[in-house]
Structures are given as C-alpha cells and as structure tokens.
Symmetry: D2
Subunit: 355 residues, 4 copies
C-alpha cells in the first residue's frame, strides 16, 4: 500500500504540499457519536503553528481548520472526517534560486531519485507542513482517548547540551520551548537564539507520556505497541531515534536492575519502577507509557555549505527561507499527535482480543 | 488487521509457540523464479540457534527447516512459501511451578490482561522462539537482495559497559558475541560469563548495516524507510530503542555539524559523511543504511525477585529455565532478518513510484 | 481497516456527503510523471453528472473538479493526489419531512442501526453522490491504463424488459441511455419516461469491457482479478449482482460447451471463444475482460409506500426529492471507473510477480 | 499486498499446492477463549472431501486436520491458529503427459504468463484443493458466529437444467448433491452420472443463507457487506457470477415491486419481503442474508479438445485425472465457509462503529 495512510482501525490519510492549495487529512474509522467542533482541532493546530514565538520560523500561517465531511449536528457520523487548512503565506520565489541544488540534510535529492522530479517549492510534500494533517487527526484521537480517561502530554527534554533536570508538568506550556524545567528552559531559549544568530540550528529530545492507558493494548508479534509507537515517531520529520522507557540506557544495566518488580497497589497489579515505559512483550501493562524521540538540528541553515547541483557539479548553498532554528518546541504537539493516533488505534483493535 | 503479519508486498505471517508442535512462517509475495533450498534457510537459523556457544542458553533445538509449499523444481513459484520447524527440546515441567506468578520483565501479566489467560509454557507466543519464522523469512529476503547487490550484516556494538572501539568486519562471525573488535569481544564474553555465574544478565546494542541499497527506497510520509526499520527492530523481543545513523547523538549537534554535505564521487552523487544513516526524508540516499537497537538485559534471571501471583498476592520468584544471559549475540541474525525484510519490501514497493 | 478506501497499490479514499460542503477523493499510489489536468477529470464527471438528460434527475450540480495536491507543473508528483467538488444545488428542506421515516429500499434504517443516527439530508454518505470521487479517481486510472494500451468502455445492456440485441460501440455515447443498440435505446428511453410518469422506476444491466489487458493480472487465491472486479462493482449503489464472461449462463452449459479452446493467432496464444470473460484461475488471459452488473430500480419513488417511523410505528411515505427514474445510464461511467481502478491496481501489483 | 490472505480482523492466509507436502491455513485475529477441537474442523472438511459420494472425484484424501499453534488447554489463545492437512493420495504421474499443454478452461496458461512457469502437478496452487484451508478456517468462523446465534447453511439450487422447486432445509444434507428438493436432487444426480459417462461436466448454482445476522454489519462505502460477500464467493474456483437477494431479476422489476416495505414484527423493525437479501446500503438489515453463486462446468473433461502447447503449436488434449463431473455439491461447504469468514470479520469490525 502507498505510504500516506497510518493506522489500522482509526486510519488517517494525509495530503498536501507546503506551497500547494492546502494541507488536509481524511480520518476513517472514527466511531460515530463523538461531539467534535473545529475549535477542538484549532487548539492543537495553534500549538504547532509557525510564528507562535521568537524561537520558531517567522512564516505566518493562520492554519484555520475547515471540516469538509463526517460531522452532522456537531457529532461524528462514523463516515470519513475530512479536514483541510488552506495554505496562505507561501512564498515560493526563494525556492527558484535553489531548485537545481540539493540542500544538505534535506529530501531534495532522494525525492528526485524516487520520483524523477520534485515539487521544490518549500520542500513540497517533504515539508514539516504536512504534519498539520497529523496534528488535526491527533486532536480527534485525543478527544476520543479522553473519554477513556487517557491523557497525553509531551515536552522538550533536551536541546543541544541543555537537559531538563527538574520536572514540573505545569511549567511545560508556560515557556516557549515546552520544557518542564523553568531554569533550563531559559538556557534552551538562549541557545536557540544564539544558534539563529550564527545562522545555525540545534537538535533536541522530546518525551511523550500517556497516562491512564489500560493494560492490554498492542498486537504481538509485529504490531506491538512499542513497535507502532517507534514507527509513529520515526516517521515525523527530522527524527533519528526512538526510545521506550529506559531506552538505550538498558544496554548498561543488569537484569536485576532493569526488571520492574510487580506489586499490588490500590488492589491493582502494577510495577514498582517503570523502566519498561509501560510496555511488556509489546502490550501495555497499565503503567504510564513513556517514549522519547530525538530530532536532528534543522537542516536549513543560513550559512554557506558545500553541495552539488542536480547534475552533480560542485556548488555552494545558503538556505535563506524562514526556518525554525530548532524544531523541538513545535515537534512536541506533533509527537503527542502520533502517540494519540497509535493509542486510539490499539484501543479499538483491542476490543476484539477476547470473546 | 491482526498483528502477526509484517510487510506490504513481501509479507510474512508467523505462527507458533515455544512449547507447541512447532514454529513457522508463511511468506506471501516472494517473486517467482528465485532458486531456493532449505540449506539457504538453515544457515541463518543456525546463527540464531540456541546452544551454539557457551554464552547462549543450553536449550538444544536443531531447528531443522522444512518447506511446506511454494517451491517447485528448486525455485519459488510466486505462491505462498510456507516453512516450519518442529519443536523438540521443549521442557514444560519447570513452567508449572511459575504458572501463577508473573515474572518481572516478562509478558506474562500483559498476555493475561489482553487475552484472559496465556500459554505459560516457555512464554508461549511471547517467546523469542517465535523469531525462528522471521529469520527463515529473512533468509529468503537476503537472497533476493543479493541479486540486487544489497548486502546486510549486523554485529554487537555494546554489551554492558563494553563498547567496540575498533571495527573489523571479518572479525564479527569469528567470536561468539559477534563483536567487530576482537579485544572487546573477549571482555564481553567474560562479562557475560560473570553475569551468568551471578544469576544475572546483561543488555547490549546491536548495529546493522546494509550496503548497496539504491536511492529511492521508502514511502513517505508514514511508510518512510527509517520508520519501517524502527518498527521492524522495535518489534523484536527485548528491544527498547532504535536509532538511525547519528541517532540520539543528533540532539547535541548543530546543523552545520550534522548535515551531510553532497559530493560527487565516481560520477555518482553521494554524501561526504553519513550522519543520516543513508536515509533522507524517509527515502534511501544510496549511502549505507545504518541502524542500531538496544536490547535490555534478559528478564529471566536465576535470582530471587519480588513479584505477585495472578491474584495479586506478594510472592518470590526465581526463574530457573534455560536462558541466554545476554540476548545480543543471537539478536544479531534476528536484527539482520528484520532489516532484510524491510528492504526487500521497499525495493518491491519502489518499482511503481514512476511511470 | 475502515471501509472508505479501495485498492492496494493505487489506493483511493473517498469522503463527503450529499449535502455537506463537498465530495472528494485522495488517490495514493499514482506513479509520478503522469501529465494530468483538471480537464482529464472533468470529462468523466460530466458523464456521471446529474441533469445531463431528460432520463436523469433534475438536480443540477456542475461538479467542477479542483486539484488540491499531488500535481506540479502539470504532472503527478507520486504523492497524494487530492481532488474535490463543492456541493452546490443541495436542497435539504425536503428531507426534514422524512427524517423520521425509513424509505423502503434505502440505507436509512441500516445507517441508524450501525451508527446510532444518520445524516438524513439527501442520504448523507449513502448517496450515489459519493461516486463523484470514484469517477474522478477512475479518470486518473483510465489515463494511466491508456499508456498501456488498455481501453475501457461500458454500456447499458438491459433496462426493464428491453435488452440490447445489436452491438455498435459507436452508438453507445450517442444516446442518453448509453445503449449500443440504437433501436432498443429508444425503447429504453420510452420505458423510463413512462416509469417516471407513473412515479415509478426501472432496473437494468450494465456491461463493461476492457480491451488490451495483458495476461497475468490478478493475485490468486483471494485477490483474483474476477474477485476484485466483483467487489468493485458490487460496492456501487443499487448493485445486486455481478457476472464475469458467460456468468450465470454457465449453470446450464456442459464443460465441452463452456471451455474456451486455446488457439494461436498472430503468433500469440489466445482463446477461440471468450466464455471466461478474459479471466482464468483469477488471472487475465489476454482476451477482453467482460463484466456485468445489475442495478435495481431506484428505491426513491414518487408513490405512496408503507413504511415505519424510527420508533417502529406504521406510516406512509412518498419520496419527492429529485431522483433518476433509472440509474443505469449514469451508472455506466461509475462502473467503468471501478473497473479501471481494479485494473490499474493489478497492473501495478503484477510488476513484482517475477524476478 | 499479496493475494493469499482474506479478511481484515479475522484474517486467514492459506498456503499449499495440490501435490506438495500439504495444505494449510493461518488464522490471525481469532479472539481468545473459544473452545475449539480438531473435531470441530474435521466435520466441515469431511463435507468438502473428495470421494465422499459417487458424484465426486475418486481421489481419496482423508484430509485429517492438525493444529500447529494457537490452542492451549482446548481454547484459542488469541495468537495465530495454524492448521495443516498432509497431502496423501497425490498421483502426479498423469500430469507429466500434459505439462506442456494448456488445458482449456484451466489456469495453466495464465499461471505460466504470470509467474514464468508453474507447478503443473494437479494444478498446483490453482487446484480447488487449496480450499481445504478456507473450509478449516470457516469452521472456526462458524463456531464463533454460533455464539452470536448466527447460523449459515448452503445448498445446490441448480445443476444444468435442473432447478430446485421446493425447499426443505432438512433435505439438504440427506442427498449427495445437497439439494433442498428431494425429487430434483434425483434428477441432478442422474444428470451428473450421465455427464460423467459422456466424459463431460455440468455447472450449477449454489445458494447460501445466513440467519440471525444482526443489523449493522458492513463498512460503506467500499467494504460493504454485499461487496465483501461478492468477492468472497467470486474468489472460489470456477465461480463466474454472484447475486444478492433478488439479484439479476432486479433488472426486470419496477421500484414499487422491488422495494421491501418496512414493518414492525415482534417489536422489531424488519422488512415484509426480502428482495434485498438482507442488505441495504451495504449494511445488514437484520433479515436473512441471501447470496448465490454460479459455478461453471468442470473444465477437466475426459474428451478430446483442441488446444495448443506452451510454444503455441496446435495439439489435442484429453484430461484423464480424477475430477468432479460437477463441482456444485462440494462447493456448498466452500461457499458457506466464505460467507462465514465475511460475517465474522464484519461482526468484529462493527464493534467499533459507535462510541
């Protein structure tokens, strides 16, 4: 199957390019009867929007969502929910200059190789703008999950050398880098502003936590919950790694240190620690789901770099479009959306596990 | 769809439990005309087999592969290739003792939660024995890839604190931990033997490299090559994290450090460095594909641990079955198989990208 | 998976309701490089449009297609092709009267049962208006097929008691019922006008022929070409039966009468007769593909019928909306579209059958 | 995706050739907790078995089912249920004679075209022997459906010119052609014996009825219940047409004759007549599901026919293997199995339609 759909029972299909008429998504499989308004979607789109703070790109897209189908009298009908955002502040002129050059770290070269040519305006389909559709669909997923008392939130754990040391959930949405550590947040902001000044960019680590996930979600042996989460996060732009729970730290531990011991708490079986990140054997165990992803520093930098032309000739390039100096802050709602999409899908799938 | 199939065009479905009649796989979508013998499969199964060295479990399974369908006159017919291995050395008696206890770090609890009960003999379906089918299918994938000059190999990069410092591809299969650094291999072996003596276990990191992959593989935006690789590795038992190329290191880098500059070499466009791990925008760029996964220390340890019974009562457990003190060495062929399955699938999928 | 997508490699997802903002389709998997304009689509939409002749409903929808993504410089990019038609002449007022009644032969009752409620305006999602998206996608498929010298055309074989006796391909699009027999076409038109006058409706049989289909298309054992064609036609509104080649007539024949004998013609192996309708063992044999479907008489009739309310109380109903007295003429382009979608999908799928 | 899997949530994958080691199926998605024994499967396999009466082929296959996985303590575990039947009475010698000839009406030519060569022994994968796996899986589906009070039965409605006039359900399994009309059954048997004597074969029509199906099953707009049933039946060997309810008769009717009027009966809304065959808008309406399929006369006939060699040279062929002179009687359990597979799949899918 082609690659623009995600999910099995709660299935989304995204479409649209950075500088085309618009960006959209079709959600198929949303159960009927969910009260849903455009406002429910807009609040999440506003969190991923460009131009929301000084650490993001200055491209200004209002990203106004419009329902095209699937809603009747304020409720989902069970038939496809189509949503769309018109593109407005697309400035393609700057791309004319670099349409024959391959931007280092970008998909220009690989799209050309795969499809024979590419829509070079703003990255076309490879633009992070495509995630508008995902975040919109994720907002629906979140609302469905909320009915099952499942809550999802994400935050920036690391930018460059700066790693959050303290955790205050309330702090997260109060600062523009979405870091749960107020003091480190300020360091992150400084580092980003400094990188922008130097025409450079920074990478970072995002963490997403899902609370209230019941045990039993995940379909071994391939559609394990962790495996689907890994795919969900890795298919976001700029992501180069994914971890669950203890993650890569597990390499250094002994079994006696890493195993989460089972205990009974409030008459429910749970684990004392959560190195597993809430998943055992690919199935949720009722503890918090904890996942992380790393985003590389933005490829588009306002510095001269070596590259080649489409014909392979040596050239210099400086990418002057409007770009985030660090994608981490805006990647938080994207990561949350992907986690929400995986969880709602597995929640639906798990309904048929037993007689 | 249920979770026991993997791949879109080269699609495998595995079946079987640790202590059932056998373990098998159906490969659907293998092109017709590939010369294939049981020996082609056996060589890979022997690499993942138990009892192959002192660092693996002592369970002795010959794991003799048998073709059940899909071959005629020594060639694949284009119809389903079914393969099976009979279980032979299954000793279920030890599991009677712990059938009402939840082993820390195991899927006992989550299978019970999901399905209402579980086949407790040897972990049932959650056993790593299930990967026999994957490795068998991966052997077919490798043979197909070889016709396209694509070669895959994996190795152990880290066990516990021991990290390979030097890289010699020839060394890998010469030592029992499959480490490309002879000296570190010895340290790893000592560490494993020591952990076994203490009734404990160790984690590790596996790396897989695919050479000769043409540019163009991967289906944005969801079935990106990196995303499918992430899922492929994360759905192996005990894996808690996955990286592509520079991986989590990307968080600390600046764009000017992380970007791989395009160059022309032997009249082909390539990149000077390979921080991307051979993938840009979810599509292969012609450079080596480089992926890593972390395996947690084996959950089954011969030490007393706290746990609870199925009814939630406090209990003690000591897991006395035969287990690998570190799964890394045997996980190498498993990881290779998963990478091979992803690559052949995307190679087939890419055939329809252009007119 | 949810039910609003069709096809494996050339995959369409339709969305939209009769009286919502619009109707659309996302085509995923269209190879890059196909020259495509909105005019290519419009010509097919105009053939399915309402109000095109006196035998169709008087609802007037211009059905102007708009590309939303997937085209760059006049060619498909290989990324999702999104298309949309705005709804304009939707008059929902008449539906207020019958929103609590179940129209005989309609999906009102079953949608209520399945989803708990329904969008009653114009049938909502169950309206034949949904096929706008299919016909638009089918136009793309036809253009791709034309590059492989595959041509598809359909016609009305039967309306009520009137069955085409002669076959002239040129005649088909010259008359408003799309019948290849000029004389019978007139009888059909008279019969439809008479039925409309009586507030009644008529059924019919549509036949579609695909010429130039190479041998080898179809994926046994489930995704046989005939099986996928059967599903493709049966999922059109009002269809109650599907046949391939000789169809139901086969029940009366002996093997010696039914078998198509192999011959060599122009150095190619073919069959003397075509009772098989171009398909053997679920795979195309190079002969014309011949399929038929029966459409029931339009359920909405301007006559009083017995029915019940949503609460199950006896009631009378007369459906006064604007409806086709016979859907056959407009079902011809719909059936062609579905056949085209199946063929392009299988053409792409067959590219990986052999090494 | 390759073509050897069927179903979305209750998904089967069949494997095996007529003269290979065996025939099998993997059922993925069967809910955990269903009591299931090999006897449950065997009873259905015995109904499709060869050699069960004088009107079937004399090939004698005991078709003894063996569970390979997915059962623990007599219940399904929720993990893949693998089942296998060994081939025993395969006599490949007769096929040597015709391996270079194309049997009229067979898949020999199309398999060669698709795959480059074929397993010519007994038709290989295109043999009706492949349906063993379907019938085995169908037996599981039937058992699950029975828990929901859904009952499925099929019968032979027509063989050659002989059409059942009376309907007695009890009669069906009492005669060897599975006809609900005792008198016509005898005529059918005589006709088959006569055809066999003449080295010829007969076609027929099978009808399947499902009782107790709740309203709401079916996923518009493509995975409509009728569309999936059409595919399910059309992918059986030798089937050339499929009908639901009134079927092709609908072409001759007026809307006022064809519409099933809604009534209330036992406090439930239902329809007075059942021309719709229990399906409206692609969704079950609670009435009996009624489907029919036509099977062509067996292609293998013991008479000299014209054909060509693989190289296209004229030749004569007489097919002397052991074949059913009419497949209708043995096709009854096959058709039932396919209907059962569709219904259980849609029953599971419908669980997520509403909040």
């Amino acid at each position: 199957m082609p690659g623009n759909s995600f999910g099995q029972l709660f299935r989304i299909t995204t479409w649209g390019e950075s500088h085309g008429p618009g960006i959209g998504v079709v959600v198929d499989g949303c159960p009927a009867g969910l009260p849903l308004s455009e406002k429910d979607i807009q609040v999440e789109l506003d969190r991923r929007r460009t131009g929301q703070s000084k650490v993001t790109t200055t491209r200004k897209e209002p990203d106004q969502i419009r329902f095209l189908s699937g809603i009747f009298n304020g409720k989902t009908t069970g038939t496809p929910l189509a949503m769309m955002v018109e593109n407005s502040d697309a400035d393609s002129s700057k791309y004319e200059l670099i349409k024959n050059l391959y931007r280092p770290g970008h998909a220009d070269f690989t799209y050309d190789q795969k499809y024979g040519f590419r829509d070079y305006r703003g990255g076309g389909r490879s633009s992070a703008r495509e995630t508008v559709g995902r975040v919109a669909a994720g907002a629906v997923a979140k609302k469905l999950l909320a009915r099952h008392k499942i809550k999802i939130f994400g935050f920036t754990r690391q930018i460059g050398e700066h790693i959050a040391q303290n955790f205050s959930q309330k702090e997260i949405e109060k600062n523009i880098v979405r870091c749960p550590d107020k003091k480190v947040a300020e360091q992150m902001i400084d580092a980003i502003m400094q990188a922008r000044k130097e025409g450079d960019s920074l990478g970072g680590v995002i963490e997403v936590i899902a609370q209230g996930v019941p045990p039993g979600l995940g379909e071994p042996v391939f559609d394990r919950l962790d495996a689907d989460l890994a795919k969900a996060l890795m298919c976001l732009p700029a992501v180069k790694g994914v971890e669950v729970g203890i993650g890569f730290e597990a390499a250094r531990l002994k079994g006696s240190e890493c195993n989460d011991v089972f205990i009974t708490k409030n008459k429910k079986i749970t684990t004392e620690t959560n190195n597993a990140g809430g998943i055992l054997g690919g199935i949720s165990n009722g503890n918090d789901i904890v996942v992380r992803m790393v985003v590389k520093p933005t490829s588009s930098i306002n510095r001269e770099q070596d590259t080649v032309t489409q014909k392979g000739k040596k050239a210099k390039i400086r990418v002057e479009g409007r770009h985030d100096p660090c994608v981490a802050p805006r990647a938080v709602p994207m990561a949350e959306a992907m986690v929400a999409l995986v969880l709602i899908d597995h929640l639906l799938r798990n309904q048929t596990s037993q007689l």
